[in-house]
Symmetry: D2
Subunit: 186 residues, 4 copies
């Protein structure tokens, strides 16, 4: 079992990105992981943009990253890249806040024309933060995410299959990360 | 004469990025341009991160972009890319807020290892916003910017020369942009 | 009138990229420019990959770049980036072979998922070569290019319109580049 | 024990990149891996640039990738990115030639200003080829690599330490990759 921090970088209170992450969280929980959701928009905007490292919200967010074995990073694609909201959180974390961690990058957007934003924009930032293993990410078209009246999420079948495989690969990578510790314990 | 919006994306109130931009503004003014400084950190953090498009700060910022012929974009490099603060402003502007405009990208940082962040991270975002002409940018090492007691800025001589040429090229590109209008008026 | 070098970086002898460029060349000629086509695949492969700077093919290619006012760079997208063939030519050119030049980047590919390869992969390379003005590029889907029995090219109407505007913008940028010289001559 | 393909993408017959890789190969061999060196410049240039997938050199290179558990990819940085020679090899490999593999990206260059080329240029290409795990790469300054009269390589001490750690991390990632198979066998 691993501890997974699941971070949504969407500024919208009715975000497809956030709902998608919460939907995937259940799959990770089913696989035995402990999942901690983090919605960046609930943190103090003033603290994030003012680089107020001592603010309780920032201190707590940094602790959540420090404790996590794995991190899911979800962002909408705006202007061909990750959201400013997500980046403002990453900016106030320690330089190597992802050291030793397994990371799953996910993005949502209105057009497949933005698919490469994960690998060309987001992944280099995550790599600069010392991430140990950034697994293959996935780009989800907004229209493949249907949100029900009860906030439940239904994914277009092909997308659901792909995301299932992506999450399982992330889960296996997390398990691989823990094996040396178990072996050492044995 | 052109109208230039000079945007600093540093979260720090004693930012080298902001002071560098104000220093370069004087050169642009000397060349006959009207320069409007915009320090993103003075805008409402809540409005920026909450994507509150109707907030007076956001409306005013969008108008400043709309009126500008040229835009100087300055950012510190954090985590191998532009600041989240800068991106949070770009995110709330119209998709093509840079259409028809001449743009000068500048970055500051502690190590030359981050030089390519301008071309690989910032420029694609500016291009996605429809920028007409993004001139060659420049990366300035923090230690080459000395801030005096009176907030005056002294640049290391080689950096001063390079930045002078960069600003002049931007100024010429702005002038070229206006020539067709003048010709048509004649 | 400007001199435009129109470079195809496709390895295929029946390349859609090359035919697209030849098709656009005629529009540039109609606008009064002199267009010089360069098909990288016709240069010596041994000289390109062996970095044989003194080989006649490389010397001639470097001269064509030196003489050009504008350069059209066309490449298929392979593995999320420009072709190795195109890059092998750029590698043997002087570091600032694009200094003072206006550049139009174009890419072709089978999926819109590769659109961002122009701005994230190709543009930074062109920028590192000192390009003065890299205008907005365009990504063309392979299936929007139909090649007739006589090698004539028919573009899907929407693509034809977009490419027409892109080429016209490039042409205007080339003209702007020349105006100062004319003004000085006057 | 894993099979590691160690690929040099330098066009130079006296390449620092190639010698650096051969130097690191010995460390991988000492750790029990079988290392297969591949110098892209020894493959047929005509086949690489002509996309001649059936050429024996290309068929053999594709087989070496298929058999490898891990791949070291070394390239000089030219024009702010990987070499055209390296990309011309990647272009003729299957789209997912790196699926299931652990990859170590390394670059050499004359200036630290090119450090980010690994994460912004090379890594997205490797990711598009389905790489399972691209470990943290390393950029080595040319002047930190001294080649002796007998072709032996001496690294600047700080670089030697960093590269040692990088190679060890790659080696551990390779081992982690194999553990599931061993566990299954048990």
């Amino acid at each position: 079992m691993a501890t997974v921090l699941s971070v949504s970088g969407s500024p919208s209170p009715t975000s497809r990105t956030a709902r998608l992450l919460r939907h995937l969280d259940t799959r990770l929980v089913d696989q035995g992981h402990q999942v901690v959701p983090l919605d960046v928009r609930t943190l103090s905007a003033q603290a994030l943009l003012g680089a107020d490292f001592g603010h309780p919200d920032i201190v707590r967010a940094a602790e959540l990253f420090a404790r996590a074995d794995g991190v899911v990073i979800g962002t909408p694609v705006y202007k061909a890249a990750y959201s400013g909201l997500l980046k403002s959180l990453l900016d106030v974390l320690p330089q190597y806040a992802l050291a030793g961690k397994t990371v799953l990058p996910l993005a949502t957007g209105g057009s497949t024309a933005h698919v490469l934003a994960i690998d060309y924009a987001l992944r280099p930032v995550l790599s600069s933060m010392g991430a140990d293993h950034i697994v293959q990410g996935w780009f989800v078209l907004d229209r493949h995410i249907t949100v029900g009246a009860d906030d439940s999420v239904v994914l277009e079948p092909g997308t659901a299959d792909s995301l299932g495989r992506i999450v399982d690969t992330f889960s296996e990578a997390l398990a691989g990360r823990h094996r040396p510790l178990l072996a050492a314990a044995g």
